[in-house]
Amino acid sequence: MRKNIPPSSLARDSRFHRRDTEQRMSDRRNTDVEGHVDPEAEDVAERARRRMHGIFVGEIQALEGAGRTAFDFGTDEVPYELKLDMARQCWDEARHCEISVKLAEHMGGELGEYAEFTTLFEAACHEDPVFRLAGVNRALEGLAIDVFTQMREFGEIMGDPILAYCEDFMLADEVTHVRMGSRWLREVTKNDEQRRKDALAFQRVVDGLFNFQGQRGEEDDSPIRLAREFRRLAGFTDDEVDEIAKMSEESRSATSERNSARHAFDASFAGQSSSA
């Protein structure tokens, strides 16, 4: 079986349409509104449905990424226990896929309704397994902690117990996945400080990419709120979370003018619009 496959080789049926990160970033519209699952927004159900589909395809790619990391490297490159952890993660991600399919249906979505962006799997294609752990298990599974915490809260606010419970179950697993990444990053690089630094730099690049031009933050109106408490449980230091918040704040400042325009536009729509 071939090792180190590119994102374009992922197997999908005809319901899915794949887009890479470059295509994703080429959308010059203001996309932070659609990413903000704000219970006050008139079209919040559509925003939540879109996010749920993003979570679903992310779970598929996380399954594929963990499976690839278990398979792509021999025990001469990584400890056998690391491969076992990746296999356990596959088990979790497969369960998350099933939960996400059910949740997407519960929310009125259809599989393949939205484009599938392959950003997560792209981070899982690095030739160094330590970089994969930093990029996927720490940066992207860390993002999953933020997103699942927020979706759980959204379910609670809207009185939707199915969404709230499912997100809570998945959130618990994500904390474990981040801890796995933190553990193996530390152990595999214990005699190679430079490799660890480079991997953490890669993690920051991935984190920066997934700040989505400042969407992540700790303010109540952040489209994606940093879940500091759960990140701490997962092994992130406060300094690391501060750094993500700072990166996001810098991106947000750069786009503050655009956001002001967005708020004015939202206010003009209040009470008069519908989601098509």
């Binding site: 449905r49 309704e113 809207m158 939707d160 117990p161 009470g271 008069q272 519908s274």
Partner: protein, 188 residues
């Protein structure tokens, strides 16, 4: 006469002539309440990827849509024929409702509550489906539940709103209120 603004697009791969053609098809589908020589102006906001729509004026018809309302989500930034037809049909049905005195619609600039706005939407999209356009009913049920509670009563209310083409605005608002009242939650 259907006018699309802007006439060319920079951030999305939309074609104004095709949008006008879809709007005209939707006008023919809706038929009642709209005339053959209707003057229609459609403002497309291509700066936003969300899918909100609204009516700005009834006489003449002026509507505003965000680019996501006309977009094929599977192929971002491209125009979707079905979604355009659905969005325009829904808007024209609301125009027709607002022109009927027996419907007793609220004023155009009235600030409707999110729940009652959603109840009207459910009724409109149910009727869009009966025009022969594909609408995914579970999507609207979920949207409705988010504003009226995840309960059997909310689901029964949804079924009535979705399937009854003859409801008036006071009846729609009353159905919405009763479903909301049954939910012991103050966040809607």
């Amino acid at each position: 006469m259907i006018v699309i603004k802007p006439s060319t697009f920079d951030k999305v791969e939309f074609d104004a002539e095709r949008i006008a053609s879809y709007a005209d098809q939707a006008r023919l589908l809706v038929d009642k309440g709209l005339s053959d020589d209707e003057s229609i102006e459609i403002d497309v906001d291509e700066t936003l990827s969300t899918s909100r729509v609204r009516i700005k004026s009834i006489e003449p018809i002026r509507i505003e849509v965000e680019s996501g309302a006309l977009e094929d989500y599977k192929f971002p930034r491209t125009l979707s024929e079905l979604d355009s037809l659905v969005a325009f049909s829904r808007l024209f049905l609301e125009v027709a409702d607002r022109r009927r005195s027996d419907f007793a619609a609220p004023e155009l600039d009235a600030q409707l509550g999110r729940a009652e706005r959603m109840a009207w939407d459910v009724n409109l999209y149910g009727r869009v489906g009966r025009l022969g356009l594909r609408v995914h009913m579970p999507r609207f049920r979920y949207d409705f539940r988010n504003r009226h509670g995840f309960s059997d009563l909310a689901d029964r209310t949804f079924d009535t709103l979705w399937s009854d083409s003859k409801l008036t605005w006071p009846e729609i608002a009353d159905l919405s209120k009763r479903a909301q009242d049954s939910v012991n939650a103050d966040h809607f």
